[in-house]
């Protein structure tokens, strides 16, 4: 019996990522953002999500990728959290993809440990690899838990 799960997918630079569909509250196009002075770099700003203030985390920064080219507006993948939603800024939204557990594999050991933290595993699709994002890590900001 094949166990299947649905992933909401998105693109970041040349990487293809997925997040469990049940963790995603919604996907919205670019929202105007309020920058937060002095905030950690990975925090892109605050967006107004229908009256709720949501912190947006730039996944490119979080994963230490190159900065998004100027003029390219990011999209929001809003993930559900116990203490309120958090938005992840990505380059582009993909389809909801159904994957089989059999095609799952742990990230290779050669992956740099720092980057490995963000990738829980890899689904081998026919034509490409789909990386499963470690959302817990993706929404955490260094130093924010000190308080």
């Amino acid at each position: 019996m094949n166990r299947r799960r649905q992933l909401c997918t998105f693109f970041l630079q040349d990487l293809y990522f997925g997040v469990e569909v049940e963790k995603v509250q919604e996907v919205i196009r670019y929202q105007e953002m309020t920058r937060i002075p002095l905030a950690p770099e990975v925090i892109a700003g605050l967006i107004n999500l229908r009256g709720q203030i949501v912190t947006a985390i730039d996944l490119r920064r979080q994963l230490e990728l190159t900065a998004r080219p100027a003029g390219q507006l990011p999209m929001n993948v809003v993930v559900r959290r116990d203490d309120g939603p958090i938005s992840l800024l990505v380059d582009e939204i993909g389809d909801v993809v159904e994957v089989e557990e059999e095609s799952f594999e742990n990230p290779p050991d050669t992956l740099e440990p720092r980057r490995r933290d963000f990738i829980r595993g890899v689904y081998k699709l026919k034509d490409k690899l789909l990386l499963l994002l470690e959302t817990e890590k993706a929404v955490s900001v260094a130093g924010a838990h000190a308080a």
Binding site: E32, I36, P37, L38, G51, Q52, I53, V54, T55, G143
Partner: protein
């Protein structure tokens, strides 16, 4: 009680019944709370007929409705209580502490039953015989010839309306328009089958004037109006409505964006109206969630009374700011912590009356509750004038229990020691009472307050009392704020921290520099300036020629925040920042502006700390810099230039100056042959520099220009004739001539200027005590 039906029959009749019971439970709880409150008030003001009526009504309503729903035990107990109260109403019984206690324990018994009904749907087998006995004892003991069980007054039993307005008969009797026995007779006739209304019977029998009846009816209907003014709403529903309003605001914003390309004036004005209405709707809905803190406080006097009676103390409770509004969720969260704190204060804080009298305090202890908004937070202060906290006992206990090592304990400051009170399992109570002292409590208080993002601070003076300060963030609260723009971003500044706005026109007008720290002379005082763009690392917009200064209060200091633009004041809804942003100390939250954009709320205290406006070590740093200044010569420094006598041009390092003041000459007093002045609760000696240094031509002016020099917390005022300037330059000190009080001369602003050696001058004036440890 012809209408009373068994509860189960009613419950079967329709689903709506649940609603009726729920309603009854809520009402009964409220009624009992009101009963407690008014009974306590009645204890203080025994002559108040109004309070007595209110107490009576509360019990009567429970008895009436309980009867309808078939709750026999409830009826039985409230009936005895009602009998006691009606004896008080007819004046044959006076409220004594014993009676009050009996009545309060009756209320508790009723509460237990109500809780039981809420939990299981039945009255359960709660044991309440003791309560009835106590009340009966009160009834019988008070009157020499006890009536058998006083039969319930028919006038007071017929209503089935849960929100019982006072009965016409009661109103007439209270207003002394009609004798009680006549009303009773009329009511009896009604019971016997007289179809007429009570008022009609009374008028017909000539017991009362028709006008009086009309008046009574008016009072009655007024009361009905008051009753129907409020409705109960489920909070979840309010939340839902609030979210919908949020969506509406967004839709409104989009509509407004369309208006830019539209020329149809009808559409434009409709859009404008939509805009206004939406804003008002939003504000209105937000406000529905706010509740005055008094809602929680109201329960506290009862707790205090029970406890103080229990331990033989006398405690007076005072409340200030009971109308301070808090979000409902916060009100819920602080209920238990507050109760704990109050219990602790009465149990451990306030001493026994004899002890108090022995140390010269009033026999009655004082407990003060204060609530107010400050710095975007709600502050709650609970203070008592009791014995204070014995830190050495805390210390011993903490060591004994192994919380800290003896060595560590010795090194702890008073404040750290006090905070041990919050450690779990510590109590200094010598006796464990049934109320507190079992070592749980204060740690629970701390965790609960911190859970909602608040802080607790304890201050205590041995023998004087204890002050507990709670600060809670205004999550979801609405506060007035000033909106400013800096670096292209808008920020909200809570109005409570705002003192005034200053706008200086022209190039850097009025802004001076002290060693890299900009200051502004605000009515003669130096106001440190903080540049918002620089502190928040925002792109600078370039100078527009004028400077906007927002003067803010942070703790006991003031500072000026320089912003690009000052926009407007607005009521904003404070929303918390996510935990990812906890490390950023200078923001208290965020808010959504009218146009849907998010703006950050500045945390004035956090900002002040970041900009080092607030710094406990400031005094220390100041004196350290003073010594440093004495050693180096050609360092770039800020100088205060002043004139003494006719041509004396002198300078001192600005770092030595704590303030520049002006005093009228009339304020000068004398102490030990020296001129002194009262300054900030201190006696500050004055030194007239012209005299002290032998300069001639000092003018006797009405207004003294004084340079306040502070070291080690003490100040000396140096009287000069004119403050010339503050300048920032490297002055090379040259020794031309040996003068004890002059360090040398330097060229400042292209002119030769004497540099005053303040410590030496003070030594010469026998004032070097001011230098303290410095010397």
């Amino acid at each position: 009680m012809d209408d009373s039906r068994p509860a189960d029959e009613l419950a079967n009749s329709m689903d709506g019944m649940d609603e009726v019971i729920k309603e009854f439970l809520v009402e009964s709880n409220e009624g009992l709370d009101r009963f407690d409150r008014d009974l306590l008030a009645l204890e203080k003001d025994r002559s108040s007929r109004e309070l007595l009526d209110s107490v009576f009504r509360a019990i009567h309503t429970i008895k009436g409705t309980g009867g309808v729903l078939g709750y026999e035990k409830l009826v039985a107990i409230s009936h005895v209580g009602e009998s006691v109260l009606s004896r008080m109403r007819d004046g044959s019984l006076l409220l004594s502490p014993e009676i009050a206690t009996a009545l309060l324990s009756m209320a508790d018994a009723l509460r237990r039953i109500v809780d039981e009904i809420a939990a299981s749907g039945t009255e359960g087998d709660t044991e309440c015989a003791g309560v009835s006995e106590k009340l009966n004892a009160v009834l019988n003991g008070s009157k020499p010839q006890p009536k058998p069980e006083p039969k319930p007054n028919p006038v007071q039993t017929s209503s089935l309306d849960p929100e019982v307005p006072p009965r016409l008969g009661d109103i007439l009797v209270t207003a002394q328009l009609c004798k009680p026995d006549l009303v009773e007779t009329a009511a009896e006739r009604q019971q016997e089958g007289d179809q007429r209304l009570l008022g009609e019977i009374l008028v017909a029998t000539g017991a009362v004037h028709p006008e009086a009846v009309a008046e009574g009816l008016k009072v009655q209907s007024d009361h009905r109006d008051v009753v129907s003014n409020t409705i109960r709403v489920d909070v979840a529903l309010l939340d839902k409505v609030m979210n919908l309003v949020g969506e509406l605001v967004l839709a409104r914003n989009q509509v407004l964006q369309f208006t830019a390309n539209q020329e149809d004036s009808g559409f434009l004005s409709t859009a404008q109206r939509l805009n206004l209405i939406t804003t008002e709707l939003q504000e209105g809905v937000m406000k529905t969630r706010m509740q005055p803190i008094g809602n929680v406080w109201n329960k506290l006097p009862r707790i205090v009374r029970d406890m103080s009676v229990g331990c033989g103390k006398r405690v007076e409770v005072e409340m200030e700011g009971a109308d301070t509004e808090l979000d409902k969720t916060i009100i819920e969260a602080i209920k238990d912590p507050l109760t704990h704190i109050i219990r602790n204060a009465v149990d451990h804080g306030i001493e026994m009356p004899e002890v108090r009298a022995a140390v010269g305090k009033a026999r009655e202890g004082h407990l003060v509750l204060r609530a107010f908004h400050e710095g975007g937070q709600v502050n709650i202060e609970i203070s008592d004038d009791g014995a204070g906290i014995a830190t050495e006992k805390l210390k011993a206990k903490a060591v004994a229990k192994g919380f800290v090592t003896a060595e560590h304990a010795e090194r702890m400051s008073e404040r750290e020691l006090l905070n041990l009170a919050f450690a779990p399992g510590l109590s200094t109570a010598e006796q464990v009472s049934n109320i507190s002292g079992r070592g749980v409590g204060m740690d629970v208080v701390k965790t609960n307050i911190e859970k909602i993002g608040g802080t607790v601070d304890l201050q205590s003076t041995r023998g004087k009392g204890t002050l507990l300060k709670i600060k809670i963030p205004l999550t979801l609260a609405i506060i007035p704020a000033l909106i400013v723009t800096s670096g292209g971003e808008r920020f909200a500044i809570p109005q409570v921290s705002l003192i005034e706005l200053v706008r200086c026109d022209g190039e850097q007008a009025g802004i001076e520099n002290i060693h890299g720290a900009p200051v502004y002379r605000l009515r003669g005082n130096l106001l440190p300036l903080v540049d918002a763009n620089r502190e928040l690392q925002l792109p600078s917009q370039g100078s527009s020629g004028s400077v906007n200064i927002v003067v803010l209060q942070a703790g006991d200091r003031q500072f000026g925040l320089v912003v690009d633009e000052i926009n407007d004041t607005e009521e904003i809804v404070v929303k918390p920042l996510s935990k990812q942003l906890k490390s950023v100390a200078c923001f208290a939250g965020a808010t959504i502006m009218g146009d849907g954009h998010v703006a950050l709320i500045l945390d004035v205290l956090g900002l002040a700390q970041m900009a080092r406006v607030l710094c406990e070590l400031r005094e220390q740093a100041l004196s350290e810099r003073a010594t440093a200044a004495g050693e180096t010569t050609a360092r770039r420094e800020s100088w205060l230039l002043f004139r003494i006598g006719k041509g004396g041009r002198m300078a001192i390092p600005l770092s030595l100056v704590s303030r520049l003041e002006e005093f009228p000459a009339t304020k000068i007093e004398r102490y030990a042959g020296r001129e002194v002045i009262q300054y900030r609760d201190q006696i500050m000696p004055l030194v007239r520099l012209a005299e002290a240094l032998g300069y001639a031509g000092a003018a006797e002016s009405e207004l003294l220009q004084v340079v306040v020099y502070s070291a080690s917390g003490r100040s000396v005022g140096l009287v000069v004739d004119e403050i010339l300037d503050i300048t920032d330059e490297a002055a090379e000190v040259q020794q031309i001539q040996q003068v004890k009080t002059i360090k040398g001369a330097a060229v400042i602003q292209q002119r030769v200027t004497d540099l005053l050696d303040v410590p030496a001058l003070l030594a010469a004036q026998n004032l070097s005590g001011v230098e303290g440890a410095q010397a």
